[in-house]
Amino acid sequence: MAELVLIVRMAGRRVAIPASEVEAVVELEGLTPAPRAAAHVAGLSALRSRVLTVIDAMASLELGCSFGEGLIEAVVVNSGGHPYALLVDEVEDVIETDGAPLAVRAPIGAGWDRVAIGMIDAGSDLLLLVDPHLVIAGPAAQAA
């Protein structure tokens, strides 16, 4: 079964996100901090008249946090009725993959392990398929 995936660089790694979950790829202009919100919320940003909650993938994976300067690339995902922008280092391409994701049997780290659906064959590379909703939910969601 063919599925489209979006290949992005996130937290220093190339990963794939199911394209069906992605609403848009945007460049964010400006970031309004949201003090005291969950640690992996980088802030808020406006996309036309919508307010996006900006998620720092790095912080969600508990690998530190990324600092965006100027224009920031982000992937817009709708989760639980709210629009989110997932900060990524770079958006590469949309490709078609065949076959279901396979289980990863290598220790990929606790953060990655929490968000990964499995691994997929993307052309010549093997990539982690990441569930954006789990990245948005962040580390707290699993503890709860």
Partner: protein, 786 residues
């Protein structure tokens, strides 16, 4: 009723449309049980509805079809092709009738009988041609023409929401453009075009807001049934009186009120209204009355639920509250009647002796109040033991647009709903003292001690200004106690379109939602009660407002919020913000010198125009609409400079006039406009200065100082600040402030903020101008004669 019929017709049309697939499938395969059920449900629904609407023809047709289909379902008849086409002919006729009803045309009824006859079992092949022969060849054309007259269509709510957000976008874009235009060189042609676009957008926004409105009937429709079921279950007799169903309210708002309202009604029947026997004993009519009404007051909707039951037993309630540890007995003794009955909203309290099946299932009045407050509403409660309870829910017209104040902390802008703001002060102002007690700060503001919470500390951001440069905002969260919030700066009043924030952001417990500023950047809307509980100042018993009389303020050091603006002559002026109703642009050519002075039409009214000697030649004139609560005047000016909360040191003008004096604000000389003189000169007759009676006014009430004072002065009174030693002919006191304002002299005139009086209350509603004037002039005359 017309609305309901339209709804029914639209719904039937929708059902017919979605049924068309099923009809075709059933025709192809008469044995298909699922399709059969679907069609059966349709005719059944139509039959039920038209019985209600008294549409005999539709009812007859659908009834006949239902009977036949029921037989097929029960296996008494088989769905042969003749039966199928007869049923389909009936369904087609239902569709034609629905169209005819919508357009108001009549449709010949002779062949209805034929159609129904075709359904019956014993008909033979010979009538089979009847149903197919009836439609005229040009039917579709007529159909299209008739459809043009349809008065209503059904739209998905999603589409409306999309339109609304599209218009919000347009408003933001307009604001941005307006800012750019102000910065750019003036071009009258461009500005005129922009004003046109601006006006159009405002109109569209207005219209779309209205499409989201729904009659509150939708909310009330479920009540009669509920009351009937509940009262029969409880063995009580209750008469429901509903009023004001034509009041319109935002669709979302109606959904938000549904649960709280039904809970209140349940409570009223369960706990409020007594059984017939008890009522007879109390000398009341056997049938209890529950009155539910709605009305609009300004930009609020009032929903009132009143019963004539036993009322709330305040003593019992207080006893329970003490037992539950909600209040101390010491505090309970000092509580007013209103405070005591409001204990019903405290979590974990119920007056019912025992928990019944109807209410008292753990969902208490605390939840009702919390739900109403979540949508920016207020619940007022009034109860008289033995006579009943009256609950008033006040909610804003729409959920989405709220007036707010923008402030900043740590270089970031936040918004605070204006409904929670009591006052804005300077931390360094003469009226404020801040003491550090342990880890907490307490602000003493004119003798009133309130906890002080730093916004930057609460948010964990670094403040950009020194402590004494900060501004204090006195906040009264709904249902909580007053506290002061220290912010770095206060910016502006704005009307904000508020949207819910993502759960990850709401988890902070500090925010009520997000909104967009004029420049399109997101702003977080702070939640006053959330901040209070995060800071630990919201709960528990606080010192009752403590205002020693010795601390009474003299007028000169009073801090007030001023609107700084540049007059048409270029001079810097200021006017107290509370007297400014709004700022508006009016076309210069509409201004003219009529009946002895410059006047400007605003909406349906003509306002006297102050602030300019002659009408500008062309373009637009920006005006301040000033109001003293009753009269309104326009004041022309060039531009708004700032809004500042300052304690001014006024150097009085040499002669009374439009400007009462000059004060130093930020190193600039600013002329302070005198609203009293303006209203006296433009909106009424000049006050008589000779031998004035005196009137004592509480110094700490901004409404009285800003709004009421001009009225009192216009009646010829000299106003002095109220206090223990003050001698005055008449003393004005706020009815809400309790018994604080006893005076050594004169009569006391109590003024209340709520339109409805409490029982045995001789106070006057604050905007009841006629009653105020009559009371004040009576006192004035008494003094002169005696």
């Amino acid at each position: 009723m017309d609305d309901l019929i339209n709804d029914f017709l639209a719904e039937t049309r929708d059902m017919l449309q979605s049924l068309s697939g099923a009809i075709v499938a059933w025709e192809a395969e008469p044995g298909d049980r699922e399709r059969l059920d679907e069609i059966f449900r349709f005719v059944h629904t139509v039959k039920g509805n038209c019985g209600f609407f008294d549409l005999p023809r539709l009812q007859q047709l659908s009834h006949a079809a239902e009977d036949v289909l029921a037989d097929v379902r029960a296996g008494r008849r088989t769905a042969d092709s003749r039966l199928v086409s007869a049923v389909l002919a009936v369904i087609d006729r239902i569709g034609e009738l629905v169209n005819a009803l919508e357009t108001g045309d009549s449709l010949a009824s002779e062949d209805d009988e034929q159609l129904i006859a075709a359904l019956s079992e014993d008909e033979e092949e010979d009538v089979e041609t009847a149903p197919t022969a009836t439609p005229e060849p040009d039917a579709p054309v007529i159909d299209l023409e008739r459809r043009k007259n349809v008065r209503s269509i059904r739209l998905s709510v999603d589409l409306l929401d999309r339109m609304m957000s599209g218009v919000s976008d347009a408003v933001l874009a307009r604001n941005e453009l307006a800012r750019r235009l102000r910065d750019a060189e003036r071009d009258v042609a461009v500005e005129a075009a922009f004003e046109r676009v601006s006006g159009c957008i405002a109109e569209i926004r207005d219209a779309i807001t209205r499409t989201r409105m729904q009659r509150i009937d939708n909310l009330f429709a479920a009540l009669p049934r509920m009351v009937r079921d509940l009262s029969s279950e409880l063995g009580k007799q209750v008469r429901l009186e509903v009023d004001g169903g034509d009041v319109e309210l935002d669709r979302e708002m109606i959904e938000m009120i549904r649960d709280p309202l039904s809970h209140i009604v349940r409570n009223a029947i369960d706990h409020g209204i007594e059984s017939s026997a008890d009522r007879a004993k109390a000398g009341k009519e056997a049938i209890g009355v529950l009155r539910v009404s709605a009305r609009q007051a300004g930009n609020q909707i009032l929903i009132e639920v009143a019963d004539d039951g036993r009322g709330i037993d305040a003593d019992k309630l207080v006893a329970k509250a003490i037992a539950a540890g909600i209040v101390t007995s010491d505090r309970a003794e000092r509580m007013s009647h209103v405070e005591r009955i409001q204990l019903i909203f405290a979590a974990g309290l119920s007056t019912a002796g025992q928990v019944t099946a109807i209410s008292g299932r753990g969902v208490g009045m605390d939840v009702v109040r919390a739900n109403i407050e979540r949508i920016g509403g207020v619940v007022d409660l009034d109860s008289r033991l033995g006579h009943g309870v009256k609950l008033v829910i006040r909610v804003p017209l729409t959920l989405t647009i709220i007036p707010a104040l923008t402030v900043s902390a740590g270089g970031q802008i936040f918004a605070i709903p204006r409904s929670a703001i009591e006052e804005i002060l300077r931390a360094r102002g003469a009226a404020v003292r801040v003491d550090r007690l342990g880890d907490a700060n307490v602000a003493t503001i004119r003798g009133r001690r309130v906890p002080l919470v730093g916004l930057s500390g609460l948010l964990g951001v670094d403040t950009a200004v020194a402590d004494d440069e900060q501004k204090l905002i006195l906040l009264k969260p709904a249902g909580g106690d007053v506290y002061a919030l220290a912010v770095d700066a206060v910016h502006d009043h704005e009307e904000l379109v508020v949207k819910p924030a993502a759960p990850l952001v709401m988890a902070a417990g500090l925010y009520a939602g997000t909104t967009l500023a004029d420049d399109g950047r997101p702003i977080l809307l702070l939640d006053p009660s959330g901040m209070a509980s995060r800071a630990g100042v919201g709960s528990g018993e606080q010192e009752v407002e403590h205002r020693p009389a010795a601390d009474a303020m003299t007028e000169q050091t009073r801090e007030s919020t001023l609107l700084l603006f540049r007059g048409l002559d270029g001079g810097l002026r200021a006017v107290p913000v509370p007297v400014v109703e709004r700022i508006e642009d009016v076309p210069a050519d509409s201004i003219s010198f009529t009946a002895g002075r410059l006047r400007v039409p605003v909406g349906e009214r003509i306002l006297p125009l102050a602030g300019c000697a002659e009408a500008p030649a062309e373009g637009l004139l920006r005006i301040l609409r000033l109001t003293d609560g009753a009269a309104e005047i326009a004041y022309g000016f060039a531009e708004v400079v700032d809004i500042r909360a300052v304690a001014i040191d006024l150097q009085p003008a040499l002669v009374p006039g439009e400007v009462s004096g000059v004060a130093l604000i930020d190193g600039n000389q600013v002329e302070i406009v005198d609203p009293y003189w303006l209203f006296a000169a433009f909106a009424g007759e000049a006050a008589d200065g000779a031998e004035q009676p005196t009137c004592a006014l509480p110094a700490d009430d901004p409404w009285m100082a800003n709004i009421l004072r001009p009225l009192i002065e216009s009646l010829g009174y000299r106003v002095v600040p109220a206090g223990e030693e003050v001698l005055a002919d008449i003393v004005i006191a706020s009815a809400e402030a309790g018994g604080a304002a006893q005076s050594t002299a004169g009569e006391v005139l109590r003024i209340r903020a709520r339109p409805e009086p409490d029982e045995g209350d001789n106070s006057i509603y604050r905007y009841d101008r006629a009653a105020l004037i009559s009371a004040l002039s009576r006192h004035g005359k008494d003094r002169k004669h005696g």
